[in-house]
């Protein structure tokens, strides 16, 4: 079947990441075994960014073509991204509670994460405030493009400038990649790809479901 191979690949990669993530040897740093969280927590952020990017592309395509299908793509991808963002915050908070002694610290990464959630909550509030579906699609697409670019600037530039981050391995400005040895990287990169593919798959399913829903609704009206 067309398009099946990458779904199977995603499952295999995630199985490998989960099994190897708990078995692989990790360097003996001051955060000990809690370092294994990097395979799951960082994966959530990459998954979130992957579907936010998909949503951004959907919005641009909608502005070019005016097709409502692209608007459904943008909306459902943003919803999936929000879900992964919340998972990222939860996995981070559980980890931070053990490592830093409190679930939330004033850190550029955390501020970026919180803003990434709030921007998309505002996106859904904007959507719900407009009744006409074509108008809603166009205006929320404009906001989505505008906000996504600023979000990328925020999480791309600001953490690298401040030297005060608490995240392990980030002292040279590279988010969370610093302390890993080669063994960990063999698990880490497949895990990232696996989580991103899973997120894109979920977004894809949600888009198809939504399209069927709106099709049924249209038929009922007729």
């Amino acid at each position: 079947m067309k398009g099946l191979w990458w779904k199977i690949l995603a499952i295999l990669l995630l199985l490998y990441a989960i099994v190897a993530g708990f078995l692989v040897d990790i360097p003996d740093t001051d955060i000990k075994e809690s370092m294994r969280n990097v395979f799951f927590h960082v994966g959530m952020w990459f998954a979130m960014l992957a579907v936010y990017t998909k949503s951004f592309i959907g919005s641009i395509k909608h502005l070019n073509t005016n097709s409502l299908d692209k608007d459904i793509l943008a909306e459902q991808s943003a919803k999936t991204g929000l879900f992964f963002g919340l998972l990222g915050i939860i996995t981070g908070m559980i980890w931070a509670n053990f490592t830093w002694g409190k679930p939330w610290a004033n850190d550029p990464h955390l501020n970026g994460a919180a803003i990434g959630i709030v921007i998309y909550l505002a996106y859904f509030i904007l959507r719900s405030s407009i009744d006409d579906e074509h108008k809603r699609a166009r205006i929320s697409a404009v906001y989505n493009v505008f906000a996504f670019v600023l979000l990328i600037v925020l999480i791309g530039i600001l953490p690298r400038l401040s030297s005060s981050t608490l995240h392990p391995g980030s002292q040279d400005g590279n988010p969370a990649f610093g302390d890993m040895d080669a063994n960990m990287r063999y698990v880490f990169y497949p895990a990232l790809i696996g989580w991103m593919m899973l997120a894109l798959w979920i977004a894809d399913l949600k888009v198809r479901l939504k399209k069927i829903d709106s099709e049924i609704e249209n038929n009922e009206i007729v």
């Binding site: 501020n111 505002a122 904007l126 108008k135 166009r138 205006i139 493009v145 505008f146 906000a147 600037v153």
Partner: protein, 220 residues
């Protein structure tokens, strides 16, 4: 888009403002009252971080109040009229220039009220004034674009606050960091000027995005 169109639209906006002088006066009263309330609540004992954060929060709320009217002040019928006369790019650029001028005036006066009542704690003046100017210009262009988006929704004033707070955060964080450097001393200068560069860059990104995206909002 051409320069003479922008000039005419800008001229129209300034004339409208001078004739009604309603926005500027109401905003100045708002800024003065807010600063005065802070003066009464804090009783003059303010440390550097609080001084800094308080000023930018006052300025943020004041600028949202100043810019929110940009696209709802005039009737939709008149917007249609402008639509037939000029390109959408001219409209958004002239609005950004107008709001930037307005913001510079508002920032100056709010700043004067603020140091008069709360006290002056600035150490590095050139850096602080650079932060003020680039910060208020950045606020102006970003809020103009958000005002354009929220004017298309059903609840303009509420939507303005909801949409602008999350996306103004990168700018606000940068400007608070850099102006705090200007308050605690000059030894961080090279890094601090880098932040001013980032503010200018953010402002450029916002203006380019506004230029590209506004035509889609304008069309109806």
């Amino acid at each position: 888009m051409n320069v003479s169109e922008i000039k005419l639209l800008l001229h129209k906006d300034i004339k409208l403002e001078l004739k009604q002088s309603y926005t500027l006066n109401s905003i100045l009263l708002y800024a003065f009252s807010t600063v005065f309330i802070c003066y009464l609540s804090f009783k003059g004992v303010v440390d550097v971080s609080t001084w800094n954060a308080l000023f930018w929060i006052i300025l943020l709320f004041t600028s949202i109040n100043a810019v929110v009217k940009s696209f709802v002040q005039e009737s939709p019928a008149r917007h249609l009229y402008y639509f037939t006369l000029s390109s959408p790019q001219s409209v958004i650029i002239s609005k950004i220039i107008y709001n930037s001028l307005l913001m510079l005036i508002i920032t100056t006066l709010t700043f004067l009220f603020y140091i008069f009542y709360i006290g002056n704690q600035i150490d590095n003046y050139p850096l602080y004034f650079a932060a003020l100017i680039f910060g208020s210009l950045g606020f102006a262009s970003l809020l103009t674009m958000v005002a354009a988006i929220s004017s298309r929704s059903n609840n303009n004033f509420g939507m303005m606050a909801i949409l602008s707070f999350p996306i103004i955060m990168p700018m606000l964080i940068t400007v608070i960091i850099v102006s705090k450097m200007a308050l605690i001393g000059a030894k961080y200068s090279p890094v601090a000027w880098q932040y001013i560069g980032i503010l200018a860059l953010l402002n450029m990104i916002v203006i380019i995005l506004a230029y590209l995206l506004f035509p889609y909002l304008w069309r109806e």
